[in-house]
């Protein structure tokens, strides 16, 4: 990890008695997608706000592109863009005007502002609505405009704080495509999300956050390997077979859906053995499929609590 564009060392932040961040450390590689995954209130937004120079940590250090976010905040601001949880657009202005305003605020000359505005409107499929007031935009359109605005000054690092919260499934998929496209251009993306699937789909590296701490870091694959192997799920069509099978097969039981999950290496031998046992006991009404561990399992395993508050998203 020599090319860390973001480096965070032992960041602590508390509000009164409440400890929000309790010693966070991590690096984000240049050009990668990094996801901070956690429930509501885990401290994700606070971490983003510190990195985006909006607030100061109580202790620890944060650097972006080698600049300290506190002592060299201005240099950091030139490298980053922030897209918060709410689309930060002006409803009274048109989409085009919103973009132009941000362009001027970035001290770009008129020609560049015009050119970039047209480019971005086209790129984000907003050309048709360019002259309409943003107040009339749909949620997905607002988000797209929001992201377009954040790209105006060609930032090197983009912070996306829960970019798909409140979007319908189709807009969410579109947003994912968009984020992947951005990453392909070499932009570093720092994403926070409470959706396990989102982190799984997008991120090169995931940090799982809980109660102000990072409890696990790794690629999606690495996190899943913590949980172990692939599982074979046997779904029984009737209660009798399920009861019968549960006596002879060792595995995780799901009574409600009559599923037994069995760990397996997926080898022929292994499968034949299992099927033979079922056959010998005259249990035939079985549907089976393999299931790779999901981040949902990971989360359960390492936080040791229920997924209440964390949605698996579809």
């Amino acid at each position: 990890m020599n090319d860390a564009i973001i480096s965070v060392k032992d960041i602590k932040k508390r509000y009164g008695e409440h400890i929000v961040l309790d010693g966070l450390s991590f690096n984000v590689e240049r050009g990668s997608i990094f996801a901070l995954l956690g429930e509501n209130g885990a401290g994700k937004t606070t971490m983003v706000r510190i990195l985006a120079t909006l607030i100061k940590a109580d202790s620890g250090s944060t650097k972006i592109g080698g600049y300290d976010t506190e002592s060299a905040a201005l240099s950091v601001k030139k490298l980053i863009s922030l897209t918060g949880q709410y689309a930060a657009v002006d409803g009274l202005l048109t989409g085009e005007e919103n973009l132009q305003m941000i362009g001027r605020l970035n001290h770009l000359d008129n020609r560049t502002v015009k050119k970039r505005t047209t480019e971005l409107l086209e790129q984000f499929d907003l050309s048709g609505a360019a002259k309409k007031r943003v107040a009339t935009y749909s949620g997905g359109m607002r988000r797209r405009l929001d992201i377009a605005i954040s790209l105006f000054a060609n930032p090197e690092v983009i912070f996306l704080d829960e970019p798909t919260t409140g979007l319908d499934p189709r807009s969410r998929k579109n947003m994912w495509d968009l984020i992947r496209k951005l990453a392909n251009r070499g932009v570093t993306i720092f994403l926070t999300t409470q959706y396990l699937e989102e982190a799984d789909q997008l991120a090169d590296k995931i940090a799982v956050m809980n109660n102000g701490k990072i409890i696990e870091t790794g690629t999606s694959e690495q996190l899943k390997s913590i949980i172990g192997k692939e599982k074979l799920e046997l779904t029984f069509h009737d209660q009798a077979s399920f009861d019968e099978a549960s006596k002879i097969i060792a595995g995780q039981l799901n009574e409600r859906e009559r599923i037994i999950s069995v760990e397996t290496e997926g080898s022929m031998e292994n499968l034949r053995l299992l099927l033979n046992i079922l056959h010998e006991n005259q249990i035939e009404s079985v549907a089976m499929h393999f299931r790779k561990p999901t981040l949902d399992d990971v989360f359960l395993e390492i936080t040791g609590k229920s997924t209440k508050g964390v949605s698996t998203n579809d």
Partner: protein, 225 residues
């Protein structure tokens, strides 16, 4: 809204109440300063709501993560409000002229009007920035501006204070809107100004300084939250 309202207030006072109120002069002449400051109040109060909106809507966060002078966000609202006020005031004066307003002011007096109104509007704008920073949602921002908007009515803006009950008369005579209105009236119509000019400068100069300082402190505080 910012233009239609001044006109509506102007016409309402002159045409509806004007006939019944005895001021010793044409009512339109009497009421112009009052309408100007009432409309400036409305215009400025929009600032509180938009500041709050920007705070809760995330626009402040975005702008603050950009390479900009942080205070430029507040200054933008103050200047924007000032332009809105200037337009509203111009409209009020033009409409007043159309319906019989006859100012006696010369160049110096008009410059005086410009100066004292600018001081008033700037101080009010900063005050509403403070309100906008203080509250946490748009509804409260809206509500908190009402008492301020009410002040001109209990001053000499629309009726001579002598007609009020004595306790209210005392309040009206000593609240900041009255010296301001008397100053404007003096400049526009040549009525005696006396100490009203200095009183106005003291009131609104003081308000400007205090509001500016408080806004700066609140802004810094919200930044570190």
């Amino acid at each position: 809204m910012a233009i239609g309202l001044p006109v509506a207030i102007m016409l309402m006072f002159v045409a509806v109440f004007g006939g019944a109120i005895q001021t010793g002069t044409d009512y339109v002449n009497y009421v112009v300063p009052g309408v100007i400051i009432t409309c400036a109040g409305f215009g400025s109060s929009i600032i509180a709501v938009s500041v709050t909106q920007d705070m809760v809507g995330g626009l402040f966060e975005r702008l603050r993560s950009m390479p900009l002078l942080p205070s430029s966000l507040m200054i933008g609202h103050v200047i924007g409000g000032f332009i809105r006020n200037a337009i509203a005031t111009t409209v009020v004066i033009l409409v007043a002229l159309l319906i019989g307003f006859q100012p006696e002011a010369g160049v110096v007096e008009w410059l005086g009007v410009l100066g004292i109104l600018s001081l008033f509007m700037l101080s009010l704008n900063w005050l509403f920035v403070v309100f906008g920073l203080l509250v946490k949602n748009v509804e409260t921002a809206n509500a908190i501006t009402f008492p301020m908007l009410f002040l001109p009515y209990v001053s000499s803006a629309f009726v001579p204070t002598e007609t009020m009950p004595s306790w209210l008369h005392t309040f009206a005579e000593n609240q900041p809107m009255t010296p301001l209105i008397e100053t404007l009236r003096g400049l526009l119509l040549g009525t005696p100004i006396g100490t009203n000019l200095w009183l106005s400068i003291a009131w609104f100069g003081g308000l400007l300084i205090i509001s500016f300082v408080v806004a700066t402190i609140l802004f810094k505080k919200r930044k570190t939250e």
